[in-house]
Amino acid sequence: MKKMFFLALLSMMFFVLAACTEETAGGEDSGGEGSGDGGDSKDSIVIGFESDAATLMANTDVNYVTDAQIRNIYEPLIERDIETKDYVPNLAESWENIDELTWRFQLKEGVTFHNGAEFNADAVKFSIDYILDESNQSFYRSRWVDIEEVTVISPYEIEITTSRPFPDLMERITEDLLIMEPGYVEDVGNDTAANEPVGTGPYQFVEWSRDNHLKLEAYDDYWKGEPEIKNVEFRYIPEFSSRLSAFLSGEVDLFKNIPVDSVAEIENDDNSKIGEASSSRINYVALNTFHDGPLQDQKVRQAINYAVDVDSLLENVLNGYGTKITGPLSPVNSGYVETEDYGYDPDKAVELIEEAGYTPEEISLTLETPSGRYPMDNQVAQAIAAQLGEIGIQVDVSVNEWGNHLERIQNREMGDMFILGWGPAFEQQGTIGNLFTEDAPYSSFHDEEIDQEIYDANGTFDPDDRFDAYAELQRKLVEQAVWVPLWQQADLYAVRSDLDFEPRVDERIVIYDMSWE
């Protein structure tokens, strides 16, 4: 009798299990066996990302994850040479400044979009007008408001006029603008174009399953020649440990943002290597001078610069992954000049504080940090608090949720000090102009004299004069000890050992340049 009972139970289990597989098989429609074959078939690559692109429409979402992916589909007019940092032609062949308000660009001939349409001046005009059109809700629009008009001169020549001198235009064109196909977007509408993009880039769209994957394939008629890697999959894995497991198991070939404490695990794996680039993104401790308090005193700010041992933080907290900076700009920045390093000198720090009329013990400061936004940010904040504690300054560290951190800065509700990163930072104005004026809260420093100098430098059109003006400003900002400069972030990538991949200073994932060994 008992046997009967067990048999009945068993058959019931099988029945329900069968129903279960039927159900699971029935509902799925996408993909087939797209996964797990990173190993042998060497014309494809799987790249892991922490989140999905918000949209596949170009010129819309200001976000690294979106940009890194769609730049393989769309192309810019101008690229940056990552060695020399110079602007180099891409879809634009040459450009000239007619006067301070007028720019002219000669475009490349013979380039086609993935749908066969010809690339020409209309496409450039369409793409810029797209950003400027309020109804498209482009998050880039705020950077482009100084554009007055885009005029098509001939099929391969375009003129841009600005409402005021806008030396930053070259940077905007290089960093922001990607070229879309006007005929296609007008035909299918924004919604479809945002899901099934068409560009001139080396890869064309195949399939996008939101929060799951984006698949691309090589565009054979690409004007620079056929890409070596034929099939690309971006896979979205929100949790880091899962991403790491997917990489170690061979499902994923490449992903960015490895925490410094996970580097060893990847290096110890035979099929893996670490890719490292010194990013243009810089991390710093802002010293808030918007409120009354000791930080409004230059000597106290200098003292804090002397009391923070950046070399030690780099070595002990970041395991050496990062490149120290001493001023407002990193050497990657085209306007960089060398500035004096405060160095670590706790005695000098105490001396300066006393000169300012305080004792270190009287000074009590807050330090706010996000957690996980920048490499070891929270731990860096704790270590800085301890270093300042050594000379007697009491520091209370608090951790903010990222959105809240940004909002507190923006609303000028921040306490005395906070940790923030800034980038990509390739030219002077984007950093100095946006950080050290009264309008900009991201360093929360402001000084009327410096405000005026920044304003003058921004308006300077001649490149040499502009360089000199900003060089002078850098020295002043260091002397004023406007913040505690920390380092350029090290961008760390987990890379399959036989993948030929060179991490770029601008964080871009250029699959066209990659190949399997």
Binding site: M1, M4, F5, A8, M12, M13, V16, L17, A19, C20, T21, E23, T24, G27, E28, S30, G31, G32, E33, G34, S35, G36, A54, T55, V62, E134, Q137, F139, S142, R143, D191, S209, R210, D211, N212, H213, R235, Y236, I237, P238, E239, S241, S242, S245, A246, S249, G250, E251, W402, G403, N404, L406, E407, I409, Q410, W422, N434, D439, A440, Y442
Partner: protein
């Protein structure tokens, strides 16, 4: 009976309304999304212009009134991040979540009911003790850890199952196991105690005494009578599986509703959060409503109360 159904129906609507109201105001308390969407170098004026464009600069009660007015018509607005219809984004993810929840629920039941029944029948035997021990472990292990453990073992070490993603039934195995783990433990314990109650009752003893064989005794008399409370638990758990699979969905990169809402919360994508909460509240309410109606049908005493 009709009175009862109508009353419960309106109570359900009230619940959904209150949930939406609470979440609307809680979301606004969490802050403004503008800084997260605009580039860091956006100026004060540009930020204000964006807030104005999105209607975020208006008084809260005006925003709330407009939101409710539109929500009643099924319009939750567009996602701030993707500019897609918020409700549609949630509905697009719903099948994936349903699939996972249903698979996990079925798996849990298939394991838990026989296990619970046998445990109760062989009470205090070694089998029973092991089963009870396992259920305690099952309820104690956090989903997050369980998921990572399974990934580590089956994907990273053995390399026989994908670590995450969706696309084929194979992708479903690990998240299904993770999700089913906790429910299995819960159901087993519940089935066991419900069975124990029933097995001690007079009619079972009578049936046994009159020579009813073991299998019909358990299936026909005991299990059937302990099923009603189990069904309630299953209904509640289904709601939980649908709304609470967030962690499993994130660990296994499963493209479901939970993950969408989590991402929307982190980026303060208000419309998507509200649409997601609406759908989950609705599912919860509907399941509870159905459970109530079935109960009332089965047990007239409830109707009177």
């Amino acid at each position: 009976m009709l009175d009862f159904i109508v009353k419960r129906f309106f109570q359900g609507i009230l619940v959904v309304f209150l949930v939406l109201t609470a979440v609307f105001f809680l979301m606004r308390l969490s802050g403004d999304p503008t800084t997260l969407f605009l580039p860091q170098d956006a100026s004060r004026e540009q930020i204000e212009a964006f807030q104005h464009q999105m209607g975020l600069d208006r008084p809260l009660y005006v925003q709330y009134g407009e939101f409710m007015g539109n929500a009643v018509q099924g319009d939750f607005g567009e996602s701030l991040r993707t500019q897609q219809d918020a409700l549609q984004s949630v509905l697009d993810r719903l099948p994936a979540t349903f699939q996972l929840a249903a698979a996990a629920l079925i798996l849990a039941l298939v394991i838990a009911i026989p296990l619970g029944v046998l445990s109760a029948y062989y009470r205090n035997s070694i089998f029973d003790r092991v089963a009870v021990g396992l259920t305690v472990i099952g309820q104690a292990i956090p989903t997050f850890w369980m998921g990572l453990l399974l990934i580590f073992l089956f994907a990273a070490q053995l390399k026989i199952l994908p670590s995450g993603g969706a696309g084929t039934p194979i992708h479903m195995i690990l998240p299904m196991l993770t999700l089913a783990f906790y429910s299995t433990a819960r159901f087993t314990r519940f089935t066991r105690s419900a069975m124990l109650d029933v097995l001690q009752q007079d009619f079972i003893r009578t049936a046994k005494a009159s020579g009813t064989p073991t299998f019909p005794l358990i299936m026909k008399y005991a299990l059937k009578n302990s099923l009603i409370p189990i069904i309630t638990l299953v209904a509640l758990d289904l709601g939980e599986l649908l709304g609470g699979a967030v962690i499993t969905e994130i660990v296994f990169s499963w493209p479901g509703v939970g993950r969408l809402i989590e991402q929307a919360l982190m980026t303060r994508d208000f419309p998507v959060v509200l649409a997601g909460v609406f759908i989950i509240a609705l599912i919860y309410t509907v399941i509870n409503f159905l459970a109530d109606v079935i109960y009332a049908y089965v047990n007239p005493q409830i109707r009177v109360k």
